[in-house]
């Protein structure tokens, strides 16, 4: 339990401090925003304000990789659903972009006093609930089987390559000189924070959607009796509380509905965007942060989800799907509806009717 509470507290503190030292407001850590930055930097989209190789993402994966190798936890595995997870990875980032932030950023927004983030929380919780209904109805992504060790090194290797690109800045890598992409905390600070978060999350199994899922799985009373469930929930609470205190102390707290960073008045679409994230995250065993951590410890299907998230980030920018201060564009609304439709279809197609929760979800539920 202590590990999880420390993980949550560290994410909260480090995220607020990174915002304080230069990251965009309420964006100490945001998997979706940072994926869009990385996609832009690699030339996958042309938004000149969204191009930067974010060291935090590199840190998440490499932190998880290094600690799992050190603790002999690293295991190259596959569930045989790489393409499915690649595809759902795309949908996760689309959903996040509608809300303007991933579940981690949602907590930072709430901790900074943004009351509109509560709508996102409602959507996320609803999505988790729907996802669990499919899990209880026999949804399966396959058994974990060992795959060649080299497969597990691919995503950490990719992140290492990105780190090299970040440090030597070759001419084909583009970095924003203005806009959100140009707002960043000192690189070493972001990298260290990312590495520590990656390592802590790997050791503790921190996952926002996983924590919420446990409330529905066992009900509030049983959750209190289960140490891991209690700890997962406590980690989210410690994340929020520490971020709240840090936001207050650093002057980044502003309670209200209007005029909040990374927000708009498309409340219904924000709700649906996060619903899509919660639903998709449950189907593929974890929120966007969890996918990065799992990829670092050798889960090749999570690696496919990471690549899917990168693809989704490029599509969001190229197709103009993301929400902005003015609201949710038509293209974004259609993407949410189609995305939800596809998730339901996936839920139906991958069900083994008559069965309960599949074994791959019973271990950890991350």
């Amino acid at each position: 339990m202590v590990k999880l509470i420390i993980t949550g507290a560290f994410i909260g503190l480090a995220g607020v401090m990174l915002s304080y030292y230069g990251n965009p407001a309420n964006t100490g850590f945001c998997v979706s925003c940072f994926m869009e930055n990385i996609a832009g930097s690699l030339g996958l989209h042309g938004n000149i304000r969204m191009q930067f190789i974010r060291p935090e993402i590199i840190g998440f994966v490499l932190g998880s990789f290094l600690i799992s190798v050190y603790k002999k936890d690293f295991r190259s595995i596959s569930y045989g659903s790489s393409l499915l997870r690649f595809f759902v990875g795309i949908l996760l980032i689309v959903g996040c972009s509608i809300f303007i932030g991933c579940p981690v950023k949602m907590v930072f927004k709430m901790a900074a006093g943004d009351l509109t983030a509560l709508i996102g929380l409602g959507g996320l919780v609803t999505g988790v609930f729907i996802g669990l209904k499919f899990l209880e109805g026999g949804f399966r992504i396959g058994n974990a089987t060992d795959s060649p060790k080299a497969n597990g090194y691919l995503v950490p290797g990719l992140m290492f390559l990105l780190l090299v690109f970040l440090l030597i800045k070759p001419p084909f890598i583009v970095m924003s000189i203005k806009g959100a992409g140009a707002l960043y905390a000192p690189i070493y600070l972001s990298l260290i924070a990312g590495l520590i978060v990656g390592a802590l999350a790997q050791r503790s199994g921190f996952c926002i959607t996983g924590g919420i899922a446990r409330i529905f799985l066992w009900g509030p009373r049983e959750v209190i009796g289960c140490p891991k469930s209690t700890a997962l929930l406590m980690s989210i609470v410690s994340f929020f509380m520490v971020a709240l205190i840090a936001s207050l102390l650093t002057g980044q707290f502003s309670l209200g509905v209007h005029g909040q960073p990374s927000s708009n008045e498309s409340y219904g679409w924000s709700f649906l965007g996060m619903l899509m994230v919660g639903f998709g995250s449950i189907l593929i065993k974890g929120c966007p942060l969890r996918q990065l951590i799992s990829a670092g410890q050798g889960d090749t299907d999570a690696g496919a989800a990471v690549l899917g998230m990168l693809t989704g980030a490029a599509l969001v920018q190229n197709w103009g799907l993301g929400g902005n201060a003015a609201g949710t564009p038509y293209e974004g609304k259609m993407a949410v509806i189609i995305g939800l439709c596809l998730l339901v279809v996936i839920g139906l197609l991958y069900r083994e009717r008559g069965n309960g929760i599949a074994p791959e979800y019973q271990t950890g539920l991350e």
């Binding site: 209904k133 909040q260 960073p261 008045e265 339901v344």
Partner: protein, 174 residues
């Protein structure tokens, strides 16, 4: 086929119908007419210098309290360069000088929509602090007006616009 299957199929049907409704509504929306203006780089540089010079003149007029003359010059610029943010920014400043905070807001909106650099700390054009003060003053005015006229549609629209500007000033990761 169990309950979850049936519910899923209903959800898909509802989502498909929603997408059709959304598409129907979207097609009915009037789209702003965009003039196809292709300007060569060299021409743009000339235009840029012209705008800069005129903005300078307008600002000098404003500083010397010739607000009417400044406004005439800026209106002419807005007609001539409809896709430039600078004239709108000057017009917003002129209106603020005239204590017309609420009327200044649409001008500031046009300015930051046409040129987001006005809200970008990393560029020399950054005017976020000034805009923040102006927006807060305008919000105070709107709230006063709304107390007197709670059903005023124009004030509600102004407030919506001010909230939009507040969000733009607060920033985003996108």
């Amino acid at each position: 086929m169990d309950t979850l299957d049936r519910l899923s199929i209903w959800a898909i049907v509802v989502l498909i119908i929603t997408s059709f409704v959304l598409t129907g509504g979207h097609r009915g929306e009037a789209k702003p007419k965009k003039k196809q203006q292709k300007i060569a780089a060299a021409d743009y540089a000339v235009i840029n210098v012209e705008i800069e010079n005129k903005v300078k003149v307008a600002r000098n007029l404003m500083e010397s309290n010739n607000l009417e003359k400044a406004a005439i010059l800026v209106k002419e610029m807005i007609g001539k360069f409809p896709y430039e943010g600078a004239p709108h920014m000057v017009m917003g400043d002129i209106l603020m000088r005239r204590q017309e905070q609420i009327r200044a807001m649409p001008e500031y909106k046009s300015a930051v929509d046409l040129n987001p650099d006005y809200l970008d700390k990393k560029t020399p054009l950054f005017q976020g602090k000034k805009l923040k003060v102006a927006v807060n003053e305008a919000l105070d005015e709107v709230e006063k007006e709304m107390k007197a006229h709670p059903d005023s549609t124009s004030m509600k629209q102004s407030r919506k616009l001010i909230y939009y500007l507040k969000r733009r000033i607060a920033g985003s990761c996108g």
